[in-house]
Amino acid sequence: MFRFLVTRISSSLFALLIITVIVFLLSHLSGSPVDALLPDDATQEQIDSFVREWGLDQPLWQQYLTFLVNAVQGNFGTSLKWPGEDAMGFVLDRMPATLKLGGLAILISVVIALPLGIAAAVYRGSAVDHGAQMFALLGQSMPNFWLGIILIWVFSVWLGWLPTSGMGTFAHAILPAVAIAWFQVSALARLTRSAMLEVLDAEYIKLARVKGVSEGMVVWKHALRNAAVVPLTYFGILAASILTGSVVIETVYSWPGMGWVALEAIRGRDFPVVQAVIIAYAVVYMLSNLFVDLLYVVVDPRIRRG
């Protein structure tokens, strides 16, 4: 168990190191923050002092080393776009917003996808199966910003049920969470369906049927218990996909999370925040994967040695 943990964590750290290099290079190749942050008619003097202040006149490798040493201590510098804000602190302040949205989105997708997948499996080949698959696929077939805006108009403006945008009450989170979740439903429902099909064919289920257990009991008690673990296998990819989706959806709904920060920071060439936010994304992703792996270890002791 301990060895497994050490291996997993050290390989994650290695990946993180490579990511810092990529992030650093990309953000520094992407033009100078001078041009995004100083006014159009800035003088050379203003530009020079800005460049000196941010160490942009140092050689690139030296800037990277400085960056890495500071980053390890959690210090990513101060934001250029939000003056006075600590870059990582600023990102971390926004993380709960994204986690809430992502958590709710995962919840919604699981709550919708599991019954869909089960129904599709139980009524395999019927209209229910096709309908469920169709519904699930719909979410994956629409550009998410388009879906997001349509949801705003239908549910906020025409029906007046939910607020259009911003963060605040629970109601504010519903539309963006649905917009993110629907995309995931298809994959989850599909996984659940095939897992259910497999389980329903298994010997012990057949045995239960022979023993005279009612079909409802078979489905709900025996099959579901075993098939429901499926979302777990998918959790890593789900997390990555939801994080990616948050960039677009948070912008549409003005939801002040990490995705929103990422977009604003890249547009503003806010190097410190861009670096902080991408590293934060990577860490969240890796932690969620580690979490899944650990859960597996708890479930299946054989993996500890595998």
Binding site: S11, S12, F14, A15, I18, I19, I22, V23, L26, S27, L29, S30, G31, G125, S126, A127, H130, Q133, M134, L137, L138, Q140, S141, M142, P143, N144, F145, W146, I149, I150, W153, V157, S186, A187, R190, L191, S194, A195, E198, Y234, G236, I237, A240, L243, T244, V247, V248, A262, L263, I266, R267, R269, V274, V277, I278, Y281, A282, Y285, M286, N289
Partner: protein, 291 residues
């Protein structure tokens, strides 16, 4: 869809095979996607690029418009239908080339990693981790800011977003195949590694790759649309569908047709591609459970 047809006990002849083809998705793909991609020039009623400022924001036919612009016009008076038809080729090209990049890179790395194991396997798996942990969208933004946007940059981003899935999948299969009897027999028989890889292992993972690739068409098209939304897609005035939807998104509540029809084209294409992928998976690889 096809399953719902009546199951008459017949000998599985040509007709039975054809009957099992997902006809509707195939037809939709052909009509919405493939045919326009290659024959837009002959099909489109108008030039997709030239603004017609006297015909701005015309509604579609049956909604107050005329047959001259069956799907209405955009803010610059360009015919939506013509733009969708002409855009199909770019959508096709981006998704096909992007997926090809993903398949080639992912399959090669996955094959070798699964076969060679050891440090190379470790390295590839770390790269997979890295690639999954870096949201493609953020990478695309940074890439766009540094090298500008072009057809190429979009293809690179799509390829980057997809290769890891192929690599992971292929590697997992190779690990299983490696232990199979026929591979072990060839090893004993002294076949070269290249021969084993390409003669014995690769053919056995082809089905997986084909299925996965079909299912990735949707992801590639969605990514292209998201990039357009962020203003870093294929540059204007190229009418990729993502750009059309993105350009019309401000007008969803009013001049809805600007984004509706391109959105519908995306929806139908992705839906059909996914249904086709599902069907292929059932045919080629019924036991595969991955997404």
């Amino acid at each position: 869809m096809a399953d719902s047809m009546i199951n008459t006990p017949q000998s599985p002849g040509l007709w039975a095979k054809a009957r099992n083809l997902p006809l509707i998705p195939l037809a939709v793909l052909l009509i919405v996607f493939i045919i326009p991609a290659f024959f837009a020039e002959y099909l489109a009623p108008h030039d997709p690029y030239v603004p017609n400022l006297r015909a701005r924001l015309q509604p579609p036919v049956f909604f107050g418009g005329t047959w001259e612009f069956p799907m209405g016009t955009d803010r610059l008076g360009r015919d939506i239908l013509s733009r969708i038809l002409h855009g199909a080729w770019y959508v096709l090209a981006v998704s096909m080339i992007g997926i090809t990049v993903g398949v080639v890179v992912g399959t090669t790395l996955g094959l070798v990693a699964g076969y060679a194991r050891g440090w190379f396997d470790g390295l590839v798996m770390r790269l997979v981790d890295i690639s999954l942990a870096l949201p493609a969208m953020l990478l695309a933004l940074a890439l766009a800011a540094s090298m500008g946007t072009s057809f190429l940059s979009v293809v690179i981003v799509v390829g980057f977003a997809l290769w890891a899935y192929f690599a992971r999948q292929v590697r997992a299969e190779v690990l299983l195949l490696r232990r199979s009897d026929f591979v072990e027999r060839s090893m004993v028989a002294g076949s070269s590694h290249t021969r084993i890889l390409f003669r014995h292992i690769l053919p056995n993972v082809t089905n997986t790759i084909v299925v996965l690739a079909t299912l990735q068409v949707g992801i590639a098209i969605m990514l292209d649309a998201s990039l357009s939304f962020l203003g870093i897609g294929i540059p204007r005035p190229t009418p990729t569908w993502g750009l059309l939807v993105s350009d019309g998104r401000d007008f969803i509540a009013t001049d809805w047709w600007i984004s509706f029809f391109p959105g519908l084209a995306i929806l139908l294409t992705v839906l059909s591609a996914n249904m086709l992928g599902d069907w292929l998976r059932d045919k080629l690889d019924p036991r595969q459970r991955q997404v």
